[in-house]
């Protein structure tokens, strides 16, 4: 999966009609700005990530650096998958 695929996953999960992967900036905050996404979107995304990738993500991880931008999130998922998907 590429970062572009990951952005597409975000768009589909959060039903961002009219948004393309190019419109999502790699290293800008995803929640609380630009696209009007909020903490509920963050949790919705976590649920989808857990379901799709078999991850287990703890509540406290959502607020951390891992969710600060699409690229940080992508790296977080890649890293977690490499570790075997368990909560760290």
């Amino acid at each position: 999966m590429t970062l572009g695929d990951f952005k597409q996953f975000i768009i589909e999960t959060l039903q961002l009609a009219g948004v393309t992967p190019e419109m999502i900036v790699d290293d800008q905050p995803l929640f609380g700005t630009g696209l009007g996404l909020d903490s509920v979107d963050a949790i919705e995304l976590v649920v989808a990530l857990e379901k799709r990738f078999g991850l287990k993500i703890a509540a406290h991880e959502i607020d951390r650096d891992a969710f600060s931008s699409p690229s940080a999130m992508f790296e977080f998922v890649e890293r977690r998958l490499a570790q075997g998907g368990t909560s760290g």
């Binding site: 909020d38 903490s39 509920v40 949790i43 649920v47 509540a59 959502i62």
Partner: protein, 409 residues
């Protein structure tokens, strides 16, 4: 269309409750006074796969109660809590059963018979409904608890339900106040009822807002809310007619106020503007100076976002007194009763006013230094005059009421 809103004073002459402490006010009063917590492992359904597995559940009803109420077996859990609480409230008010008196029922409920609906749905969801038992699917609408009360007592006045999430019962009590003031009804039964169900348990878990341990409102280590269930009811009537019939008021319901945050569907306005507006309106409606307020029954869910929003609302209204006014957190004892929260919390507030004794906050742990409210540690005696009780709901809707000690004048 005109009305003189504040012409008539309204008093509470009776109350009843069903809580995780049992059926009736007595066990609730003892537990609140002792600062006990009823939040335990869920037994109603298999909760093992949920992130949090605790809630405060109502124990089974006394068999004689079930036998004494007609059609009991067809009532949902929420209906039963409502009916039992209302009947207890009427008994304690020594209700004059006269067909001349128009009685109204004003109840809050968030999910009504959802628990029963879930079970019905689970067994019927892949089948044609032609043969489905009708009584099993009749309980879902959230106006059922109020109607069950109305049927049980033969009410002929306004029978209505507010379903505004966690603010439901408080808003319903506000509507009842207006209805008694205006003479729409001679007596109002006001309260709320909700039962534990998988939709709310699963939903709040999905939102990651349930604490894996019993909720700890305003404390530094709080992680979320704990769900509860139950019902509570107040009997409201005009002061003059209550005194005329020799009833003994428990407290005066002085005022009610409401507002909307216009901030977010679930997160409260971090600045507490909406909550402050509801409180200010309740005080204004009751012609109650904020200096009279000697205690607050907080919404106090224990979620990271709710408690600061509330504290900031208190600061807006009470200034530096926000750190001094004692705050009761009923939810730390009985959990979050959702649509009935405002009703059980009104009961707790009236108990404090009647006994002139604030209820201690269950649990321990440091107060969050960012939101330094005063949680009474032991069941302290105070000269309590007026108290406010507030609830903030999904959708950003807020309700608040002002209750005052009845001292006989």
């Amino acid at each position: 269309m005109t009305s003189a809103p504040n012409a008539r004073r309204v008093v509470v002459t009776g109350m009843g409750g069903v809580s995780p402490w049992g059926w009736g006010i007595a066990p609730l009063r003892r537990a609140l006074a002792a600062g006990d917590c009823a939040i335990r492992s869920v037994t109603r359904f298999d909760a093992t796969s949920f992130p949090s597995q605790i809630a405060a559940e109502v124990p089974p009803p006394p068999p004689e109660l079930a036998r004494s109420i007609r059609g009991w077996s067809r009532l949902s859990f929420a209906d039963r809590y409502a009916v039992a609480a209302a009947l207890e409230a009427l008994r304690s008010a020594d209700w004059p059963t006269s067909p001349e008196l128009t009685t109204g029922v004003f109840f809050g409920s968030s999910t009504g018979g959802m628990w029963e609906t879930e079970r019905f749905y689970e067994s019927w969801r892949h089948r044609c409904l032609e043969r489905a038992p009708r009584h099993a699917l009749a309980t879902q609408p959230v106006d059922r608890p109020a109607e069950a009360v109305a049927r049980a007592i033969g009410a002929s006045g306004t029978v209505m339900t507010v379903s505004s999430a966690c603010a439901s019962a408080t808003l319903a009590i506000g509507e009842a106040l207006d209805a008694v003031r205006s003479g729409d009804v001679a007596i109002a039964i006001a309260g709320g009822a909700d039962s534990l169900c998988r939709v709310t348990f699963g939903g709040f878990n999905a939102l990651r807002s349930v604490d894996p341990r019993p909720c700890r409102p305003f404390r530094a280590d709080r992680e979320g809310l704990s769900l509860g269930e139950g019902g509570a009811a107040l009997v409201l009537e005009p002061l003059e007619s209550a005194l005329a019939r020799g009833a003994r008021p428990l407290a005066e319901l002085c005022g009610a106020g409401a507002s909307a945050d216009v901030h977010h569907m679930t997160a409260p306005d971090p600045q507490g503007r909406g909550a402050a507006l509801a409180l200010a309106r309740a005080l204004e409606d009751g012609a109650c100076e904020s200096a009279r307020v000697g205690g607050i029954n907080a919404h106090g869910t224990g979620t990271p976002l709710n408690d600061p929003a509330e504290f900031h609302a208190y600061e807006r209204l009470f200034g530096s007194r926000a750190r001094e006014i004692p705050v009761m957190v009923t939810k730390a004892s009985v959990g979050h009763l959702l649509g009935a929260a405002g009703a059980i919390e009104a009961v707790a507030t009236i108990l404090a006013l009647v006994e002139q004794r604030l209820q201690p906050s269950p649990g321990s742990g440091a107060i969050d230094p960012e939101i330094p409210v005063r949680l009474p540690a032991s069941s302290a005696s105070n000269a309590l005059d007026a108290m406010v009780s507030i609830n903030l709901g999904f959708g950003g809707c807020n309700g608040a009421i002002v209750l005052a000690r009845w001292s006989g004048s």
